[in-house]
Point group: C2
Chain length 674, copies 2
Amino acid sequence: MTGAATEAATDTGLRIIFEPAGVAAEARPGMSLLDIAIAAGVALDAPCGGQGRCGRCKVRFADPAAARSAPLRQRSNARLTPEEQAAGWLLACQTFVTDQATALAARDTAPETDQVATVLTLIVPERRAHIFPTGHAAAQPEVPSVTCNWRANPAVRTYIVEMEPPSLADQTTDLDRLRRALAQQHNISDVRAELGVLRRLAKTLREAQWRVAVTLEMRDWMHGAYLPPRLLAVRPAEAPRRDLGLAIDVGTTSVVVYLADFATGEIIDTASAYNAQIACGEDVISRIIYSQRGDGLNRLRELVVGTINELIAELVERNHVQSADIHEAAVAGNTTMTHLLLGLDPEYLREEPYVPTVSLPPRLEASELELRINPLARVHCLPSVGSYVGGDITAGVIASGMFATDKLTLFLDVGTNGEMVLGNQDWLIACACSAGPAFEGGGVGHGMRATIGAIEDVWINSETFEPTFNTIDNAPAQGICGSGLIDLLGELFVTGLVDKGGKINRHADTRRVRQGERGYEYVVAWARETGVGHDIVLTEGDISSLIRAKAAVYAGFSVLCRSVGVALSDVEQILIGGAFGQYIDVEKAIEIGLLPDQPVDRFRFLGNTSAMGAYTALLCVNMRHEVNEVASKMTYLELSADNSFMEEYTSALFLPHTDLNAFPTVKALLKENA
Amino acid sequence: MTGAATEAATDTGLRIIFEPAGVAAEARPGMSLLDIAIAAGVALDAPCGGQGRCGRCKVRFADPAAARSAPLRQRSNARLTPEEQAAGWLLACQTFVTDQATALAARDTAPETDQVATVLTLIVPERRAHIFPTGHAAAQPEVPSVTCNWRANPAVRTYIVEMEPPSLADQTTDLDRLRRALAQQHNISDVRAELGVLRRLAKTLREAQWRVAVTLEMRDWMHGAYLPPRLLAVRPAEAPRRDLGLAIDVGTTSVVVYLADFATGEIIDTASAYNAQIACGEDVISRIIYSQRGDGLNRLRELVVGTINELIAELVERNHVQSADIHEAAVAGNTTMTHLLLGLDPEYLREEPYVPTVSLPPRLEASELELRINPLARVHCLPSVGSYVGGDITAGVIASGMFATDKLTLFLDVGTNGEMVLGNQDWLIACACSAGPAFEGGGVGHGMRATIGAIEDVWINSETFEPTFNTIDNAPAQGICGSGLIDLLGELFVTGLVDKGGKINRHADTRRVRQGERGYEYVVAWARETGVGHDIVLTEGDISSLIRAKAAVYAGFSVLCRSVGVALSDVEQILIGGAFGQYIDVEKAIEIGLLPDQPVDRFRFLGNTSAMGAYTALLCVNMRHEVNEVASKMTYLELSADNSFMEEYTSALFLPHTDLNAFPTVKALLKENA
């Protein structure tokens, strides 16, 4: 009987089929429906990472009655409306599998000890798979303003080598024969070889009749010295080949991969997708929390590696190249993403005093990371500066050229975190502030990520208070993304619909202002204009989230400037990186006090500086030293240890700011509109 | 119907159970019974590696009648006697699985298309698992006569390090904090860290409350320069730990592992077993042939790795240590064994002009070889000199101390191949000659390996011609091993029972000389004295094999001496390594002309010089340079390209030699006996 009980505890007899994906999975006791989905590779929308806080991982059973008799236990449904509950919606992260015996006992209906296998179909609301509408990420990056000819010095190089075949009079080993020829014909000595190449070497040399193309990693650097060249591949001289590399931007939300050709230095193609880790939480904190559960860390590592490998497969197929021809990769990501990709424990990034395991990751090969390219390919992870200033920011400092300019520069990358760097070729100081997810559409009722159907820009007629907007791909509106939210708030403010404290003008003469379920709100789109079947609105609560987000960013660079004794007006250029940055309207961002009120020509949007920085490091060995140099010379200002930050933040909790004199153009505009 | 035929071709419906092991295996079409056994991990005796030449892989079905109706096809049974065939014996390597349809068609008894699964029980003659009777391999190696204090300089060292915990004022990363403390407290800088250590670092440092034991690989050498120290393990300072290493001798026949303690330099324990590759052929040539079939190379690699891992598990369990505490390994093996362990293609070792892929294997970590110790442990494979002078011989040159002596020294390692090195501290020249398997009991009717029941020494009464012998472990005689064969031939010769041409004296007054099935023979043991139930004999054919083997060895060192213009009598010491060498009787070996007729005090038996050399390289970083130095300065003399070898060989095809004057003591002995 004990044996049977144990068996019952390990086998619930329950299988779940996820629709519309049609994926079947085993349900083991203790797992949540979210766990089962993640294990089965089904991506639910779970921005909080299964903490039960966001209420997004809604699912329902095709047959709710059958589900009620299954070994399932619901922990909390506080995030669901009574209507949703009545309609059978559950939170996947809050619904747990129990063992059969417990379930039966709880229902007092035990039909003997017989276990009948139950198959339940779970309906998953549809999600969209790609963040970038076609073309957005495919733009060629700008060439950084760098002093060296950075496209002309790749580490990966191929040489044609001819050898005399061995004889009884010359029994030199295959490797030494190859080394000898490389030294004689190309003046390259002491080439290193690893098992991966050696295992095929004997056959390859003979099949090639001693005439081969040798691909080498040159100028491999370790602690102040170059190591001898390293064999990456040996192939018959006549075989088709290309020397390719990858620049990878591992973002919290999305992953972008550039496929580059070392021979030309050009980007052949790019591909991007959501980071599959999104199923385990939308922001880095949720991911870190997820990583601390059971196999969570390894699961997160596998998910992001899976995303990268899918993108590689897509690039390889679309461009008719061989994955074995990809001989090197450079990766930029924030510190958490880098830790997760490498399988490093991120727990202490989140806990005070916020310490990473490592800032400059070790020398890695693709096989260690399980990337599906030449297993010997070196993978360079760009170094971070602190727990919240990662390799994506050092990449940005490189890609923006600020490390090599004498102009006083402010570099900004705004997402869930606002990271910023101030300085020039002589000095660099960085900080990070938690802006919250508002600019990525989180924490805002009808906010969404910048995907198809997102309202991305808004204008409001100052007399009729009627809005005009555009959506991404001109699809029916689904919600409002970050750039749309900035536009909308700016417009609401300058038209007087919202006051400096973020309150909606209850007396405005428009039916778009009304009292909704969640307090006063402004209707951006009527239900009939949308693709979601309800009005899309911005509430006072949403406005408050946005103001807190923009205040954190503004306080960040205010403290940064003050810490080195310069005024915001001394900053000669303000460079904005990150996927989000590309679509901001500077004037609107100034109107709400997100960006400082400086002449518009000082601002420049650089696009995906993280991927660009990785691309630079991929193509040029000198630039790798520059990246490391940048990371090691950058001072990290910990805002939580800085008294003036809270003061600056509080002052910035107004539109555009407590001190309207710091925003002269906004002041003028308000006067004009008044 | 096509579908059904295809299915029949992939599923024979046949399963084989190997007894007495009781292992069940699936039989797929095209496999031989030997293939099935190897795949199932059942070790048959198959010295020729499945070429059908040795006739040793005999098996029989428990129910021969049932076997006859199974989908099996016998290719050749030429190596079986009519009696064996009548008794149902088969050669496993010559019996192939066909698909069911073909088998049915061939028998014209197809019972519709129904397939009935057949289970056949296959009887495997018993083999003994361990080559070394207890104690033989457990002897502590002799300390080589080396100029440096080689036990005092291991690469693996552990340091206790204390760190200040991080704070908001000091957010240095975990790795940099550890580096800083190592530099301050032990003057060790620039420590390198790989993923394996970094993944646990954050938690370990905190659990250990910032007081840890750091195990480092010091003095890691690459192309003329030391690399910075490398982290092997970080553990709480208070946790139990030991710094252990392995010296591994990968022999064609057996594998020996020494477990050493870096703190004391002592060998804690040793373990040995047959190399599981024996199932795929007894000598290197058979293994190379096997490696060229399908997945053969990978299978051979897995088999030897499996043997090593079993020995490691045995050592770990017996000594109550942790495999994770084994931080380094040194491996010596012949060139074929090293290629197979590393998964390098050995094909061209066998084909003229006999060229290895590599002589000094690359820097390896245990994880790459799948050795079950600390995955970061460095594995040093000792360098070879040529296809037939391997890392076991460079190990021997080190272990024997010949690389550091001014005495003119001849080092010999006799097994299937006779490898020999002549020289001293200033110069070294090596060659290898194929002695054939006679000294390991192969190619001799009643020959066997040196295992329990082998006749290991023999004396013959010169008047009665009656023999006296000892067997290993005093077990009932099973056959004659190498040292017994040398003794026996020497005795037969000096007692006049065999003449200088290897002919048995047909007129000797003893019933032990008789005409047997295979010509004239001498009976060493009557059936009743044995454990095999038949007389144990030595035939003229066997004698001829032995003479060819000893002639090859003698010709080898004759040519070696001649090539540098020294006489055999100039050699001041003759050092004999290898497992086999330990048990040779020098005087008998001189009598048959295997060893040169020099004063007995010039000979020294060193035991397992291969394992000893590996042990030396394991314990002392300086010795690793010496080993590489030895390998690179050793001249390899290719005998197949040397005209004088065949001449010397022909002259040595007599007992003891054509030129009896080269064997003055034998000449005197013969005169005395005459």
